[in-house]
């Protein structure tokens, strides 16, 4: 019996407090000019500790912000790094294209003015050994390539086609010891005086022009061109330039080092001479001893 009465008393007390609180809310919810002394005292008591906690909270917030900004910066850094890598790759590609474009422009100009029917080809592999000078191109007999066709670039004679397959061919370079080219000095225009250009055993980057009669007039700066004798290479194709005076004139024949016009280490695109342009004889064939096809 005591419990329900106690409950009822509690409930009544609760209702009284609720009413009191409603009154308090009503009084304090409007504009108040100043706080009550109880509020003042409580706030004075809590304020310093609250301030300390607030600083701790701020420190935590700063720490969090720092961690977040570090994470963001790291992510941004990674993104920018990726962008740099991408742009760097693009730049390399762009430079490559620019160089290729430059090469193609010069090759195109050469192809149009050479007076020969030329077939452009790309070097797809080269002999890695130092013993032979051969390379493979991406054109074969299906493209009209035949054995013993001359191979040139805008810089001069490269060599000749040695073997042909359907879609590729092998080129033997003029630096290969197995190949010698009949040549003459362009300046003298003397068809009677010819020699052969061969590989130079002493210096693989140079050629040597030999088997010339001792009376041949030859001097540094002279351009050496194909003579057209032998029937493989059309006459007048530029081979290289004489760099030194012939050392010995006492022998039966004269030899002189020749710097090739072509840089064989950097060959990427070449031309195969299919024949004279429009079926007419090439510039060298039409008039033996005429101007060579020069770079």
């Amino acid at each position: 019996m005591a419990k329900p009465r106690q409950d009822r008393r509690s409930l009544v007390l609760l209702l009284v407090v609720v009413l009191g609180l409603l009154l308090l809310i009503n009084v304090t919810s409007g504009e108040r000019k100043q706080l009550t002394p109880v509020e003042d005292a409580l706030l004075a008591l809590f304020a310093p500790v609250q301030s300390a906690f607030s600083s701790a909270g701020q420190s935590l917030q700063d720490l969090y912000d720092a961690a977040v900004s570090f994470h963001e910066l790291k992510a941004e850094n990674e993104r920018l790094q990726e962008e740099i890598d991408f742009l760097r790759a693009q730049l390399v590609h762009f430079h490559e294209m620019q160089k290729q474009n430059h090469r193609y422009r010069s090759l195109l100009g050469f192809a149009e003015s050479s007076g020969y029917e030329l077939l452009a080809a790309e070097v797809i592999s080269r002999d890695p050994s130092q013993w032979f000078g051969t390379l493979t191109i991406n054109r074969g007999y299906l493209d009209g390539v035949q054995r013993e066709m001359a191979v040139i670039t805008d810089r001069g004679l490269v060599g000749m086609v040695s073997t042909v397959s359907p879609n590729s061919s092998q080129i033997i370079l003029i630096t290969d010891p197995r190949l010698s080219v009949s040549a003459r000095v362009q300046r003298t225009r003397d068809p009677g005086i010819v020699g052969t250009v061969e590989s130079n055993a002493g210096d693989p980057s140079m050629l040597i022009m030999t088997n010339m009669p001792p009376e041949t007039s030859i001097q540094p700066g002279d351009m050496i061109v194909t003579s057209g004798m032998g029937g493989i290479f059309p006459p007048g194709l530029y081979i290289g330039m004489v760099k030194e005076r012939p050392e010995e004139r006492s022998g039966l024949v004269l030899s002189v080092p020749v710097e090739p016009g072509v840089n064989f280490n950097r060959l990427e695109e070449i031309f195969i001479v299919l024949g004279p342009a429009g079926g007419e004889p090439g510039p060298g064939e039409a008039e033996p001893g005429s101007e060579a096809v020069e770079p």
């Binding site: 509690s10 609180l21 304090t28 919810s29 809590f46 609250q50 701790a56 909270g57």
Partner: protein, 175 residues
């Protein structure tokens, strides 16, 4: 004697934390109300009178420290403590499900009481549907999670205190 001291410390610490460090743990727009969790948990354990008294006292402190008008938090928390105490009589106190769900329901009730009071006396208030989905329910979930840790701790402390009281009472009778 140690139980009331720990409870008082918990309340004071919660008051201090709520205004500072806890704002760091804001979820959506809702902040946890540890005082509410304490009032509901202790009301559930100690009964409606003590629950109401704790709610009134610490709600009033909350009013002084955080509110511009007096009585809002005091009223809401007192009613909550009283209600939790009434339910604590009927439900199992040693099982976690009831007090935790009570904290969830209590938070929603607390917020609705405040919503009504603010609307009535101050005249401003957000639309109740929006508040319910964006503020009240996230806050209730947040409080419910906190109560998973706080309630067992308080209940164990209370049981320990009861054990000690019983032992010391028996010893006194023996002498």
């Amino acid at each position: 004697m140690i139980f009331p001291v720990i409870v008082a410390l918990c309340f004071v610490l919660s008051l201090l934390l709520e205004g500072s460090v806890l704002s760091f743990f804001i979820m959506e727009k809702a902040l946890p109300d540890i005082i509410l969790v304490l009032v509901v948990s202790l009301g559930f354990i100690l009964g409606e009178r003590k629950g109401a008294l704790l709610g009134l006292g610490f709600g009033f402190l909350q009013d002084v420290i955080f509110g511009s008008a007096l009585g809002f938090f005091a009223m809401a928390k007192m009613l909550l403590g009283y209600g939790a105490g009434l339910l604590g009589r009927e439900l199992y106190q040693d099982q976690l499900a009831a007090p935790v769900l009570l904290v969830f329901a209590g938070t929603l009730t607390h917020e609705l009481i405040l919503h009504l009071l603010v609307n009535q006396f101050i005249g401003v208030g957000l639309p109740v549907e929006w508040s319910l989905s964006r503020l009240f329910i996230p806050k209730a979930l947040y409080n419910m999670i906190i109560s998973l840790f706080i309630y067992p701790l308080l209940y164990r402390l209370y049981c320990k205190q009861q054990e000690i009281s019983l032992k010391s009472g028996a010893r006194r009778r023996r002498y």
